[in-house]
């Protein structure tokens, strides 16, 4: 990829794909179509574009969570929320199915997921949502850079998973990026080869690469399932024989009902070669730090007014998901903006038109991070301005970046700043190191069985 220089355009409007949306002031509709890119409304300003990207986030959220057919396509015969059920994104390929032991080639897109032995013995129970597909396997519980697990009010760790859409899957598989040796071969094959996932565009009516990270909490006796998008999941804990990674445990798998508490949606588009970063949370997750303590009306999923635990502190090591832990006490450090709250109310009302009890009306957009700098042509990154001046400067999901919330550059969560540090396993030069804003490529293992470093 040539690193095109960004000629800093005079005004952002000239280079944003401005579609004067004829229905800009009309109410949005529930649609299973994933937007190709942002639709910018005039006059352009920081706040108007933020609103445009936030609409993009909601439309994407709705389309991704649309009820799915067996083949993963949205079921256009029903409207989202009439009944809770398997979603379009839940049919996408999980990261553990792509970055396999010994760098094995992933199975084709339509192939069912291969489960660890210990999960295979479990009957999914009343699992009808995922006919023909296996349930979600949740195997991650430590937040980025080992900052710690998030513990719910029942003392259980939340669990995370990452999936990618077929376009991104193809980008990984076709270029052999799923193994260390494959990555080496890719970069050696041509001096200009660079990781560049597909880009969505209004011009071509193509959806670009999309990656999704979801956080789930195990539903306990006190949780009301009807408040959540719920799934019968296989909660998998890998075995560990290294005391310095935590307690020595055998691998285990439990069939549990889980509720969605957080959702990252990341979409690469022509307006955003640094990707568009949308994040949603369950409305009951946490209070805002700016809300006076006495006014924090609960009940919350990750905050208890009666607790005097330290705020936003991970539990002490060792971390053992099998052991009941002290619930985390979490607040949101950066509040939602007024316009975001207004937009959330609008979309929640819209979702309720399909079903007043729609589980999806229990979710809210936190914000959308997008690059304000004029994007270079061909969806590339400018060497002179790699992150493209993201707005807002910081963004965190209280369930996924719990312990790195804040506004300190580089230390506090900013989707693009952090993901800009993602690398491949072939760090010979900036061209080969660049992983196009995903850490997934670091999960590639070696075909020799040595695994990733340490």
């Amino acid at each position: 990829m040539r690193m095109e220089v960004s000629r800093h355009g005079p005004l952002g409007c000239a280079l944003f794909g401005v579609l004067l949306c004829p229905f800009a002031s009309a109410a949005p509709s529930l649609s299973p179509q994933i937007p190709f890119d942002v639709t910018a409304t005039q006059p352009i300003s920081l706040s108007s574009l933020q609103g445009n990207f936030d609409e993009l986030s909601w439309q994407t959220f709705i389309a991704l969570n649309w009820p799915a057919l067996d083949n993963g396509n949205p079921n256009t015969g029903i409207t989202i929320g009439k009944q809770d059920g398997a979603t379009v994104w839940e049919s996408w390929k999980e990261s553990y199915q792509i970055f396999r032991a010994k760098g094995q080639t992933p199975l084709p897109w339509d192939a069912p997921a291969t489960l660890p032995e210990v999960c295979k013995q479990l009957k999914p129970g009343r699992l009808l949502q995922q006919m023909g597909k296996v349930p979600d396997m949740l195997d991650e519980f430590i937040q980025p850079f080992e900052s710690g697990p998030l513990v719910d009010q029942n003392g259980a760790y939340t669990r995370n998973e990452i999936v990618v859409n077929q376009s991104m899957f193809n980008g990984i598989v076709d270029n052999g990026l799923y193994s260390i040796e494959g990555q080496q071969k890719f970069f050696a094959a041509k001096k200009t080869n660079t990781v560049a996932f597909s880009c969505g565009s209004n011009d071509t009516s193509q959806v670009g690469s999309v990656m999704v990270k979801a956080s789930w909490k195990v539903l306990g006796a006190n949780d009301r399932p009807q408040d959540f998008h719920t799934v019968d999941a296989l909660v998998y804990t890998p075995g560990n024989s290294d005391p310095s990674h935590g307690p020595i445990v055998e691998e285990s798998c439990a069939s549990q009902s889980v509720g969605l508490v957080g959702l990252h949606i990341v979409h690469k588009t022509a307006s955003a070669p640094q990707w568009v970063w949308s994040t949603f949370e369950h409305v009951n997750n946490v209070p805002e730090q700016s809300t006076p303590v006495a006014q924090r009306k609960g009940p919350y999923l990750f905050y208890n007014a009666a607790s005097d635990s330290a705020i936003n502190q991970p539990p002490p090591r060792p971390w053992n998901p099998a052991v009941k832990a002290t619930p985390s006490q979490v607040v949101r450090e950066v509040p939602l903006t007024g316009p975001t709250n207004t937009l959330n109310a609008k979309y929640q009302a819209l979702l309720r038109t399909a079903n007043p009890q729609s589980v999806w009306a229990n979710y809210q957009l936190i914000s959308t991070q997008w690059p304000t700098a004029a994007p270079p042509p061909n969806c590339q990154i400018s060497a002179a301005n790699p992150l493209g001046n993201p707005a807002p400067s910081f963004l965190a999901n209280a369930t996924l970046e719990t312990y790195i919330q804040g506004t300190t550059p580089q230390a506090s969560s900013s989707c693009m700043a952090c993901h800009g540090n993602a690398a491949t396993h072939v760090t010979e030069s900036p061209r080969t190191s660049f992983a196009d804003f995903t850490y997934l490529l670091e999960r590639a293992q070696s075909t020799s069985g040595q695994g990733a470093k340490q």
């Binding site: 690193m3 352009i44 300003s45 060497a383 300190t408 800009g420 760090t427 030069s429 900036p430 660049f434």
Partner: protein, 172 residues
């Protein structure tokens, strides 16, 4: 009719050489210009600031080129005795993110210095002028230091001189 903020940005641009649209892009998620104006106003006082802004506005309305405006302000026709000191502190603020109190003003003491904010440091211009980045803040990718940097013009909007062009980084 331009605002104080517009004139402050224009004046800053003329003094520092960094184009207006770099100091104050139309889409600006960081928003240093109003922050700097608020910070600077009590510290140099309106007695010094307003004549500076007025001088700038007048010269700009006459389409005087920025370098010549700066020359007027700093060399030829200082509007007030403290104007030059104030202007120089404003220049250093943009280049370094640090405010150097130029003279006593109210409770502010000459010689005091402070980093205005973490953003002021991270977006300070001296580092881009060096074709680099502030120490402690890099957006670039592994190994970039083994390759030529982006050109001065790409990073600041200011072209290098003829003699230093010979040494400019070439990214193509």
């Amino acid at each position: 009719m331009s605002t104080d903020l517009d004139n402050f940005v224009g004046l800053s641009s003329a003094l520092t050489g960094i184009p207006i649209e770099r100091l104050a892009p139309q889409l600006d998620p960081v928003g240093l210009p109003p922050l700097f104006l608020d910070y600077v106003t009590p510290r140099i006082t309106t007695d010094v600031l307003n004549p500076l802004l007025t001088q700038y506005a007048t010269l700009a309305a006459d389409h005087v080129p920025p370098d010549k405006i700066a020359q007027q302000v700093l060399v030829t026709t200082q509007p007030t005795p403290n104007s030059v000191l104030a202007a120089r502190s404003i220049m250093k603020l943009w280049f370094l993110g640090v405010w150097y109190q130029p003279y006593d003003a109210g409770s502010y003491k000459k010689g005091d210095s402070a980093v205005v904010s973490d953003q002021a440091y991270i977006y300070s211009w001296a580092w881009k002028v060096a074709q680099a980045h502030p120490m402690g803040y890099s957006e670039s990718f592994f190994g970039y230091w083994n390759e030529q940097p982006s050109s001065l013009e790409d990073l600041t909007g200011v072209p290098a001189t003829a003699s230093s062009s010979a040494q400019q980084g070439d990214r193509s």
